[in-house]
Structures are given as C-alpha cells and as structure tokens.
Symmetry: C2
Subunit: 343 residues, 2 copies
DNA sequence: CTGTTAGCGCCTTCAA
DNA sequence: TTGAAGGCGCTAACAG
C-alpha cells in the first residue's frame, strides 16, 4: 500500500509550512503560489522552491470553502449498465476534465430513493452543478427547482419544461434512415423496431413515416414492435418476408435488431444490400462493424451530447440564463455495406 | 435552470443561521444535528426544526477540513470506452455508495500525462484513496509509493509487487472452459483466441493447455491468435475446420470470437453443440444470449472485482496493512446452449 | 446540558 | 512589496 510515511513528517505539508521554510508570511506565500503579481520575483522563486521541496499541494477543500465554488460537478445516472450512459459520461468528463472540474459519479440504479440520497450527498459536497443522465429518451421526473445549483438533464429529458434538457433527435434519426434507403432506390420499405413503450421507438417511427410520406411512399406492412433484441430481429424479419416477400429495404430500430434481420435474410438467401438494404440504429460499433455485411446505422453523437450538457452547466455557472426546455441534438448517418454495395 | 432564488435569502443556510433561529449557540446546534448525546431532547428538536425550515445542508467541505477525511475516493481509469471498466466501476461505486463515500471519476484516456494531471487533482481534493482501473490485464506502471493515500489497482495490476492489485484469474478461466468441454465428452478440442500480445490471451491459453494435459489430451492444431473480433472468429474457424474437420470442441478467447465461430459453423452445416461445442469468454450478455444457440461463457465477475477493490481501500483507510501483490479473483462458468443440447 | 474559544488550510482586504 | 488580521463553515476541546 502506497503511503508517504517514507519521509518522516507524515502530515502533508501546508501553506504555512511552505511560508516558514521560505521565511515569508502566509499571505506572501499564498500570493506567490497563486501567481499574484504583488510579489517580488526573488521571493516568489524562494516560495515555489520551498513548496516543491515539501511537495506541497494546495488543499482544494480549504480553497473551495472561501471561494464558494468547488470545481466539482455531480453526474447522477439512473443506470450505469446502460450503454448509452457511458459515452455521455465520457463526453461530459471530457469537457470538464479539460478544465479544472472533477466529476462525482453517482449511480442511483433506477431507484428514486437512492437518487434522492445521492442528490443530497452532492449538495452537501457543494458541487457547482449536476447533470442527470437517464437511460431512455422518455421524459423523467424533474429534480425540482429549489436546488441551489444548475441542473441539466441529458438523454432522458426532464418532464418539466422549465428545466434544461438535451436529448438526441430521434425523429430526425428515423427520417435520415428512411431517406437514405429511398436515396439508394428502395421503394418497398418496412420498419422493425423495439419496445413500443419507448419514446425512442415512437419518435424514430414518426421520422420514418414522414420521410416515406415526403417521397410519396407507404410503409410495407405495419411497424413490427417488440423487443430491442437480435432474437426479435430474426423473428420479425421472418414474419415480414413471409407476408411481404417483395420488401427491398428495412429500417431497424436498433443495431441489435438489425443484426437479427441480417441473420434471417442470410438464411433466406436474400442478398444484402442487393436484394434488401438494412439500416440499424445507434451505431454500436462492435455490432455494426462485425456483421456481414457491415451495418449502416444512425449515430446519436452521444459523446457530443455529454459535452453539450457540460457546456450548459458551464454557462449556468458563469451566470448565463440558458434556454429552458428540451434541446434536440443532431444525429448522423454512418454508411456501411448493408445499404450500399461494396465495389 | 433550477436555482433557489425562489426564497429570497439566496445564500444557502449555514449552521449559525440554524443556531440563531433555534436560539442556541453554534456548538449546541452542531451537537444536536450530529446526534451527539450531550443535548436536551427538546433543544435537539428545536434545532432540527430550524434546520429543516431553512433547508440547511451541512457543508461537507468544512466538515472534511477538520475531520481530515473527505469521504471521497478517486477512480482513475485509463480508458472509459472499454467495456471491462464499467462493471468494475459499478461494483466500486456500489460498495462505496452504500456508505458515505462518493467517487471522483477520472478518465486519463490512456495518456500518462493526463493520468498524472488527474492524480494531482485527486490529491488536491484530498481523496481518501484511489482505485486505478486498467482495460487490460497486463501489468501497468505503478503510481509510485510516495502517495499520501492508499492505492489499489484493479483489472490491470501494478507492475510493482509491493502495490495492491486485484485482477481476474484468467488461467483458471481458461482451465474452466476446457474442463467444461471435456466434461461434456469432447476430445478433439481447439483454441481460437485474440491478440497474443495480451496477457489475457496468454493466461487463458495456459489454463486451457493445463486442463487438456490433466485429461491426457492435446490441443487440436496450434492456438489461433489474431484479433478479438467476430471477423477473426469466422476466419479462424474456417481455417481450423479445413485442416481439422474432426474438431468437436472450440474454446474461444472472447465472446466476439465465439460469435464468429458460430457463424462459420452454421455456414458449414455443423450443428452446435451436437457436432461441435463452443465456449466463449467474458459472458458479455448482449452477445452471449442473442446467439444461436446461446453461448456458454466464462464470467470474470467484474462487478465483484470492483467491490473487492473498494474493500481494499476501506481496509487501508481503516488502517489495516493489506497484503501486497496481485490477488487473482475467481471467475465462473456460465452454461448455455452452445455446449449442452437443450431438451 | 449549554456556550465560549480555538483551530482545520487557505485567501483577501488593509496597513505598514 | 510584505505582513497582520479576519473569515469561509464546522467541529472539538474546554469551561460554565
């Protein structure tokens, strides 16, 4: 176990230790170390040297106590398992990490009590702001407005329109997917999606339908909803092909579903993309780049979403009164072999 | 944006506000709130009421300043992308979260400079301990021994044997996998793995070989090493079956590889598990439970590993001098349809 | 049982 | 340019 007891003066050095060693007062030492300009160059050098020789590290707690700001932000997630949370978290950590901000990670595991508990802990620690990250795009309960720090909701927007929320634009995502299939010449397009209780499923469908309508097309069959799994993708596409063997394009609600669809098409000796084009959703690389053929998909830019959330927090800390309501962030099409033949 | 300005007294209440409102001294208020037993019941009630009416929250920073402990721990990861880091992080967050400890998350993104930077920040914030989480099981450079707080290395052990490290037991994992195939009656067993530069690949192979040797068997062909991908799984198994068509069991170095293997076996009209049994590694549920048939795999119990790391930190904070060196944590076999026929 | 008095480690006036 | 003093919010001795 790493412990410093090596030296002898076990206690970590404080500023007054530095001051004493440098032969100056506490105030001067403070100024010297913080780069204040009211200190002689020689004095500063002496102080810095003393600090280094004692391997002095300023106590951020003490500093925060007077400063009023801690340079910390709470990341309150309801579900760390979810693979959507991680990129968002990375984006946020990224945006903050560049500066002087550190992130407290709290996983409430979908439990409102635990969430409340963590919230309280974060406030006790005087975080400068809080990002709430949900695992679905369905609106979630607001933490309320009587909090002493700014709050931003990411992925799962707040159900309160006077809160600040950022979430991916699933409607446009669905639209992009369908428009891409249309652009590659498909006319008999079907849609297989996941759990219809998810806002994500509904929103994407809206986008798909809108794109088809704009092109004067109609969806082949009804939207097939069930689960976000490969199994469902296999079953649904078998069902679909049985009743509509002339389908030439399938928009899938997730990459997992799309993987299942690819499996079934292969079993049925349909060529992808020549006979049927398939597009997934989420751009989950490990799934999308390992399929045969590789999977075209919609990427929600989650890392950027996390960064955007961090920016909102920054703005709020800096005193700006940001626009409330839900902001829908752009998604992007990633084209691979499942919609365009490789040459 | 949620702000408290609703009330009027914008500043968050402090203990002396509470004391004043309750008509007692600061010290008494402190005792009342912290459940000290030297305070009259009635007084305590009054103080608590005052605190509530002011929605007072104790300032953890001020408290930590005197206490010497902050109740925070740093989680220093080199690579948040990695899917191994997350469960470990969850396990740790879990173990801590139950108590009064909060976790600072820092992602160094594989950059030593950034890691050093984060380390310094964590020390400035006076964390009570640090968990370093790597993305591979290969040993990583030690942070050194001149740190004022305990450090535990998880997943990627420290290359310094006087540090404390916890990592999954890959050798036993490989052994478990091979033993399971042997137990199901397989005798012509091959091994397809990932990048041979990974300790994980080497360790698992050692376990596989040992199990075979114990059973008086030899590996069919050489170990096939390349990448941890489905593509490689497909290619390698095609290669394998071409030269050794009589193989009846394949130990795979990862679930991704195993998925590729299943694909190829299906293309070659081999039945799994009747003709060939396949076992993966990692028990990555989304891959393992969506394949046809579902994939038997080895689970590294990463959540528990995270918990174990947290425990080591607790112990060290409580003053115990924990055993140094690398501790190998048990893994477990998860049996599904790819090795045992469903009835 | 309650209140007074010192700090914890640092920063910031304000004098010298 | 330097130093002395006060305070951030709280807790822990001590007295009363």
């Amino acid at each position: 176990m790493a412990r410093s007891e090596s030296g002898g003066s076990s206690r970590t050095a404080t500023l007054s230790d530095v001051a004493r060693l440098a032969g100056v007062s506490l105030a001067t030492a403070s100024k010297a170390i913080n780069g204040r300009d009211q200190v002689a160059a020689a004095t500063r050098r002496r102080v810095i040297e003393a600090a280094e020789s004692l391997s002095f590290t300023p106590n951020a707690l003490a500093r925060s106590l007077t400063a009023g700001r801690t340079g910390t932000v709470g990341l309150l997630t309801s579900d760390l398992e979810g693979r959507f949370v991680i990129p968002i978290l990375m984006g946020a950590e990224d945006a903050f990490g560049a500066g002087q901000v550190n992130v407290f990670l709290c996983d409430a595991r979908g439990d409102a009590i635990r969430e409340q508990h963590h919230l309280k802990a974060l406030l006790n620690r005087r975080v400068d702001g809080i990002i709430v990250v949900g695992r679905q795009t369905d609106p979630r309960p607001s933490l309320g407005h009587d909090l002493p720090v700014p709050v931003v909701y990411a992925y799962a927007p707040s159900d309160d329109d006077t809160d600040v929320s950022v979430t991916p634009d699933n409607v446009t995502g669905g639209r992009l997917a369908a428009e891409h299939l249309i652009a590659t010449g498909r006319r008999r397009i079907a849609h297989i999606s996941g759990d219809p209780a998810y806002a994500a499923a509904q929103d994407r469908t809206v986008g798909v339908q809108a794109a088809l309508a704009d092109a004067g097309l109609e969806l082949v069959g009804d939207v097939l909803y069930s689960e976000w799994t490969e199994h469902w993708g296999r079953d649904a596409s078998a069902l679909l092909l049985a009743s509509h063997p002339d389908v030439d394009g399938i928009v899938c609600g997730s990459d997992q579903i799309a993987r299942g669809v690819l499996d079934t098409l292969r079993d049925l000796d349909k060529r992808v993309p020549e006979d049927v084009a398939v597009i997934g959703y989420d751009n989950w690389e490990v799934l999308a780049t390992n399929s045969r053929p590789e999977l075209t998909s919609i990427d929600a830019n989650l890392k950027q979403l996390g960064r955007a959330a961090a920016m909102r927090i920054f703005d709020a800390i800096d005193g700006a009164e940001p626009a409330t309501g839900v902001q829908y962030l752009p998604v992007r099409l990633v084209i691979r072999g499942s919609t365009i033949p490789r040459r």
